[in-house]
Symmetry: D2
Subunit: 343 residues, 4 copies
């Protein structure tokens, strides 16, 4: 059994990691660190894990030796604690924003502060199997992308890889997301009465995930982010310009080729019905990212769409997929929940 | 113009009072007290009041002389501040739980602490026009009931008044409510991700509003309270035992007689359709309390139902109705918004 | 592999059966019958099953020989088709209301029509493992209870079994439920704009599940049912009278004893926190039924609470649990999904 | 009193018209036409109007002479019935899509069918006071824009009017909307269980409102439309390219100048807080359209945002505002409801 620790285990991403890890046949959870609730039973905080575990949260100093550590910490904490975690575990998978960018200048522009461990930025492999699977097989430091970055990148990557769009033109992303992305310690802005039913534009320009999309796609991304009524789920609509002469069939073929072998990316292309385009509603709890597209033949305008569960493919599930790859296990192990309909 | 001050004006009940008072043709708002946001513009906290007012919140010591003061304060604060408010205004309308019960022993059983102004308990008139209209015409101290108490009392009162149920048998109330009742300063339990979609039993026994219902109906009430997915709205289902031989027609007649002249209580008795029984969904923003009932002819079991907006008829609107009565104004003045459908 | 057919496979219960059966290691789905969508791909109707199956719906006459058939049909259809299904499969598990009552008079009182196969009412074993596990091991005809009946029965059964309440006094159940219970072919009353945010009392008296509760508990149940804002989930609050002298400790002990060995019933008894009482919110997709209780020591009033996912423990999951029992498989096989938090 | 008839009065826009007209001091509702419910009481269909009216729906042939008629009919019906309505009333205000475009070729491209009254397209004045107020003072045929068109146009118009963006570059609109826009007779796609919690891209390209935006702004608009979890509300994010050298201050000044005298457009420009950008959540029931913007100074990218209640400023309220203008009444008469917070 692979011995795994989760740091930041009382948060929403931490809880989702625990859910997935406790159900994984090859993994044993040996530590669940929480600075807020040391000593408290895990299922007191994550009530869905009642009867799934008798473990309690522990303090960082009580973490046993581990084969792998997941950092589901607040942003900025991971980079200040990184040394202590690399000493405790050869393999570290970070889910914060701290190591998602490989350029300190870009980091500082988007995070408005100095990076605390700039020498490590190049050491982390992006935790995005669809783009970096080979590197992940041997990576000891992995940084899982932001949920809306993963959606945005997967929405457009086939067209970049097949050179169907003009990267010079950049791309516009409109992302929508549920409230769980704000975490279990969110403030008054996330009070139910304030957040319920909202369409809250929280980043009309320059969301941090924009920088990740630009990095991975190699083009200039502009992204807006809006909180809509949902707890889980993220969706990104992408607008880009097809190269002259590219038609819908080429777009379809690029998506099909790029993702036909991917275990967790599904190309959605129905002609009719309610579910013609990707919607996170049917993906909650699952590790799938659904992608789709539409071309306006008259104008050549392209819209691509990606949807995922921000806590799973946008976080904990994606991280576990990376661990499976790194350990040489079947990539889908422990990640087979298909989602619920209706929900 | 009647000069009115709202204490606790940054809360949800406070904001609803401001909305109603700013739209009232005979009232001028002269003070909006907030200890959290003194000096800040009102519409920064209550964004629906943009362009409706340029006022800012003030501190208690800056309150001008007023004809009436509404106390939309946290529980326990009203009873400690009551002297200072009665000195500033002859007429005080309290919306907290502090003066809703007239018996210190009952107060202490339900609130688990000693009352700070027990000599005043008898001085307050209950702010429930349907039962106490005559007293309200001359009352200088008014205590508005809890939202689920108002719903519960109005659901059963006609049957008590017409002596159709056996008060010895008591009555069981099952109340459901939205999240706004927890107020604008609610804690982590009211985080959107935790509260959204919940069916949270927060009082399986002995909710405080139970004591109010018992008081006003003169019977032993048992009440449960559950938070359901909604921001506004409260609904109470009441189960009581009809006296031997009482039939559905007598029940209907009692409801009709009791409420036919009431401007804000509507008896809902449709044979078909979606809206056969009271539902807060169509009442949001309005001062109506809809009531309905069903009798199982085979068993003689009775269920009555009341629905209202917890911040309006369950709070601010009811308080303004009391003020209109006290001032000899038309009872519906400033309270004519009918609610929205669909919403 | 056990060969299984689902009739009514395009409905919500049918879809949930398919999700569970497709993930079950010992079962092969050989037929998915839909009269509405014969020939259409299953994942066109149940989009969460994309990549989980390539099957299409078939017509009844094309159903292959099966070891077991689940009937997820509209009420009244099962009893008219029952002969044809018993001819195709030795084992029939019915999820409609048609065979839930064992008394034609009671059936007719609650369903307002004549039963079409009264001779079979006694042949069906109730599909409620917690009460009828031994009979289920050999039953060839199984009738799964209604979702609110299962919640209601499990909420009170330990106290009945340990003789702690007075059955003469009856019990009152207040049930709340999401919209998926109305099914995939629901009418205008279930339009999103009408149903969203509702607290819709659809049965103030005499809900059909009331009759099932009375049957299984051997007492007179009165039940109300209210639709609240949720797609999945059912919760029942039960009010009963403890026998003289029974205290909270005895109640707790009865719950613990009754359910300690049950794989899918959890007794929730926290002193603090958000999750003190059962809430379907954390159970969606899972086969758990959480139960809890509260006693008002002063008055002896008892409230018990049960929560479950109406499509899983309230339907498809419960049915699969019965099949596992009947086949001698581990009872939890294919039913291990723990639910999501937050959701 | 002005005598007014509503055709299509049983729909959601029709109900909202009735709510507003019944509360208008200078208007008498003389006819409420419904082909589905002739003879049925209005408040049986619009339960929020209980006690506000005793009127019943009538058939078209029973409509009395009217000073003005509102057509809240299904698309395509207005253009086939238009002659009969212009015979019954000098003033006709159409809320369908039938007369929103002034070019039959564009109409046919977006609506996929031939127009039935092309000779009238030029006769209708767009019901958008912020752009066409002067023409509306004398217009006898008025066509109210689509909800997302109104939001999109108001979001960008100041920059077009002040020549701050390059119209050659076009503009991209990302619109989100609640379920009530689908109307009271929506089909299975709008079943609560399917629509709840969805992020449903129903128009990834070429939504019909796109053509209206292009017409009114004189540029090439591209628009996507997504249904999100809400009953009411529409929001549009607009992306356009500022002319070289235009800075945030010029943008702000353009918004302020354009809308400072508008009674129902508010420029939202807070530096902090939850409500920095327009959100329909606080506008439900009100006739306000809130607009805001953000400029990324580094890249010159511009995002503008508009929010409104699709049934009010996006429909019935906007139509009444037009009628007030046409009749020379105060423009805000009957439209003063400020919206609710929280809701």
């Amino acid at each position: 059994m692979v011995r795994v620790t989760v740091a930041g285990a009382a948060g929403y991403i931490g809880g989702e990691l625990l859910r997935l890890l406790l159900g994984h046949p090859e993994i044993e959870v040996v530590g669940a660190v929480s600075s807020r609730f040391p000593g408290r039973r895990i299922d007191g905080v994550h009530p869905n894990l009642r009867s799934a575990t008798d473990l309690s949260f522990c303090a960082t100093e009580d973490v046993p030796e581990s084969d792998a550590v997941f950092l589901a910490l607040p942003h900025r904490v991971a980079m200040t604690q990184i040394e202590q975690w690399t000493q405790r575990s050869k393999l570290v998978i970070d889910l914060t924003g701290d190591f998602r960018l490989d350029d300190t200048a870009v980091y500082e522009r988007y995070y408005d502060e100095e990076h605390q461990a700039p020498h490590l930025l190049d050491e982390f492999t992006p935790g995005l199997p669809e783009l970096y699977r080979d590197q992940l097989r041997t990576a000891d430091l992995i940084s899982v992308p932001g949920c809306m970055a993963t959606a945005g990148v997967l929405a457009l990557y086939p067209l970049v890889a097949h050179d169907l769009i003009d990267p010079e033109q950049g791309a516009q992303f409109d992302a929508r997301t549920g409230s769980s992305g704000s975490g279990a310690t969110a403030g008054p802005a996330n009070l139910h009465a304030e957040r319920s039913g909202a369409m809250r534009v929280f980043a009309p320009t320059r969301h941090r995930h924009e920088a990740e999309i630009s990095r991975h796609l190699g083009l200039s991304a502009a992204m807006t982010a809006t909180g809509v009524e949902a707890v889980r789920g993220a969706q990104s609509l992408c607008h880009a310009t097809l190269r002259e002469g590219v038609d819908e069939q080429q777009v379809r073929r690029a998506f099909r080729r790029q993702y036909s072998a991917e275990p967790f990316v599904r190309v959605v292309a129905h002609q009719r019905g309610i579910h013609r385009y990707p919607d996170p509603k049917i993906l909650l709890g699952s590790n799938f990212c659904d992608v789709g597209f539409a071309v306006d033949a008259d104008t050549g305008r392209l819209t691509t769409i990606a949807a995922l569960d921000n806590l799973v493919k946008g976080g904990a599930g994606n991280a576990l997929q990376c661990l499976n790859i790194r350990l040489g296990l079947p990539e889908t192990l422990g990640l087979s929940f298909p989602g619920l309909h209706p929900l």
